[in-house]
Amino acid sequence: MPADKVILVEGLTKRFGDFTAVDHISFEVSRGEIFGFLGANGAGKTTAMRMLCGLSMPSSGKARVAGFDIYKENEKIKKNIGYMSQKFSLYDDLTVKENMRFYGGIYGKSDVFIKDKTKTILEQLHLTAEGDKLVGSLPLGWKQKLAFSVAIFHEPEIVFLDEPTGGVDPVTRREFWNLIYEASASGITVFVTTHYMDEAEYCKRVSIMVDGRIDALDTPANLKLILGAESMDEVFLKLARKATRVES
């Protein structure tokens, strides 16, 4: 196995009864890459991501995350990944610092590490003055950036982002993506699902899921070339139109 491939997926499948949510998908993600995971609602991208995070057991297929087998080495994978879900997941009734203290704590980080890291992040986000404010009192855009910083607080190898910019204004989305670039530059692999096609352009490579299968996987530029499309929007529509699965 090549050492720089942090995610290796081969024929990964998830069935719920008769329904095949994820149908034999295969792909690789390299270290430090920003990998866009696209698909219409119900295409199976969240299910695929949940399998890679250890939240859901695959029905068949193979996958290695951060060098560990998803069946046998679940615990080791958990230490090396970060996760940010669609729902905002910081505690509103805790301060910014207390939230970081908590998430650092459940990843088993030492007090010194947590203290240093908290300081670094607050400076990076220009939130040093807000460290002792309750998260609930902050604007949504700040919260979202904060949630991302907390997801990579323990310095994981890979961070999984499930539609992280839902409901956020374009300016904040741009700032959010700057954070993603910084993380990627520091060697963290970013695996991101999104609905926004402009965000797809920011990714190094994107995969597009249709009806549980990966229909296309390449750089945004190549995808546009192959499909003769002007924009990622067009690429997506051309592929997604083939979908036969009805959104439930």
Binding site: E75, S85, F102, Y103, F113
Partner: protein, 378 residues
């Protein structure tokens, strides 16, 4: 420097979680106030407002004899703290009229020649007519009145030898004054512990599920079992505070004795708390929303605790199916343990069966809860 040994990681996870949990509790002042104030309020309400004792009940007299003995008896009843004389009647018909008006609860009827009968035949009759539209009050009042009359009779006949008499002497063991507190303090303890532990743990865990923070924790290296235990600890501590409040209030304010071992009592209470916590965890595993968690806790636990544990109504009088249900409710076992230890002062040797049942329930609920918790991961 990083915390690397498995134990210190476990430690840091556990304490980070408990600290967070305390922030939640501490910052939600209204809930905290309810959690800590509830036992105080319940003890006061049950101790002073809801009591089966009847004081200063109005009674009427139909005295057809009007002699020394009846006068003495009436004065004695009027003087007691249970009764107040409200009316002298002149005919039987008036009794029902008074009852219908609701002004009196009891009528005492003396037949003609009461004193004569008493003096010459050693036998006289008094009729007590009670308004039994409230059977409990009627029962209590006739008991009080019979006792007063009995006392009087003893005094009158005391200096005389009667040929054949059977005197029944009653002793109310463990609760000579028949205080209501003896009954409800154990009940309130069961109720408060169940409410704090079961409902609050269920609600807070479901809240994490609703908010999406539970998912973050399941992705983290923190083991689900550890999440479950860390969730339970703060509520265990709150419950210990509540147990202390209840015991202190009932001992100093309601003057209820603690005849058995305090250590045993507290130990059993902690065991019951653990049962309640496990139940809360189990409910949280099944409930989809905070409201659902609350309703399940209330309907499945709270009502059986009040109705079927023997705290309000005696279990012995219930139909067999209800008695079976009562045996399933953990509160009924705890209720009988607290009564035994607190009032009768008996030790573990007499309540090991109840203790074992509670311990078994705890293991059962906890295993089920952890199992259900794990299934969510698959």
């Amino acid at each position: 420097m990083r915390a690397n040994s498995p134990f210190s990681i476990l430690n840091s996870q556990f304490f980070a979680f408990i600290k967070k949990e305390f922030f939640h509790i501490w910052r939600d002042k209204s809930t905290l106030f309810i959690l800590l104030g509830m036992p105080v309020a319940q003890i006061i309400i049950f101790g002073f407002a809801l009591t089966n004792e009847v004081k200063n009940a109005k009674f009427a007299v139909l005295d057809q004899s009007k002699d020394v003995a009846t006068q003495q008896l009436i004065t004695e009843m009027d003087a007691s703290r249970y009764f107040d004389l409200s009316k002298n009647l002149t005919s039987y018909k008036q009794i029902e009229e008074e009852f219908k008006k609701g002004t009196v609860k009891l009528a005492v009827v003396f037949p003609p020649n009461f004193n004569e009968d008493l003096q010459h035949f050693n036998k006289a009759q008094v009729q007590l007519v009670a308004d039994a539209s409230d059977p409990n009050v009627a029962n209590t009042l006739t008991n009080y009145a019979s006792n007063i009359i009995g006392d009087y009779q003893k005094r009158v006949t005391g200096n005389r030898e009667l040929p054949y008499t059977i005197t029944t002497e009653m002793r109310m063991l463990y609760n000579p004054q028949l205080k209501g507190a003896f009954n409800f303090v154990p009940g309130v303890m069961a109720m408060v512990l169940l409410l704090v532990c079961t409902m609050m743990t269920a609600i807070t865990i479901v809240k994490e599920k609703e908010m999406g923070t539970m998912e973050i924790m399941l992705v983290s290296p923190m083991r689900p079992q550890l999440v479950v235990f860390a969730k339970a600890v703060p509520y265990l501590l709150l419950s210990i505070i509540n147990i202390s409040t209840i015991l202190l209030l009932s001992y100093f304010v309601l003057e209820m004795p603690i005849n058995g071992s305090l250590v045993l009592l507290v130990g059993e209470s902690i065991l019951f708390t653990l049962v309640s916590l496990s139940l809360g965890l189990l409910i949280s595993a099944g409930a989809a929303s905070q409201q659902a968690a609350m309703f399940i806790s209330l309907i499945a636990l709270f009502l059986p605790t009040i109705m079927l544990s023997g705290f309000m109504f005696p279990v012995e009088n219930m139909p067999i199916p209800m008695q079976v249900v009562s045996k399933i409710a953990p509160a009924s076992w705890y209720y009988s343990i607290v009564k035994s230890v607190m009032i009768k002062g008996i030790g573990l040797h007499a309540i090991w069966k109840e203790t074992l049942v509670l311990a078994g329930m705890m293991v059962f609920f906890l295993t089920l809860a952890i199992k259900k918790f794990k299934i969510r991961l698959a």
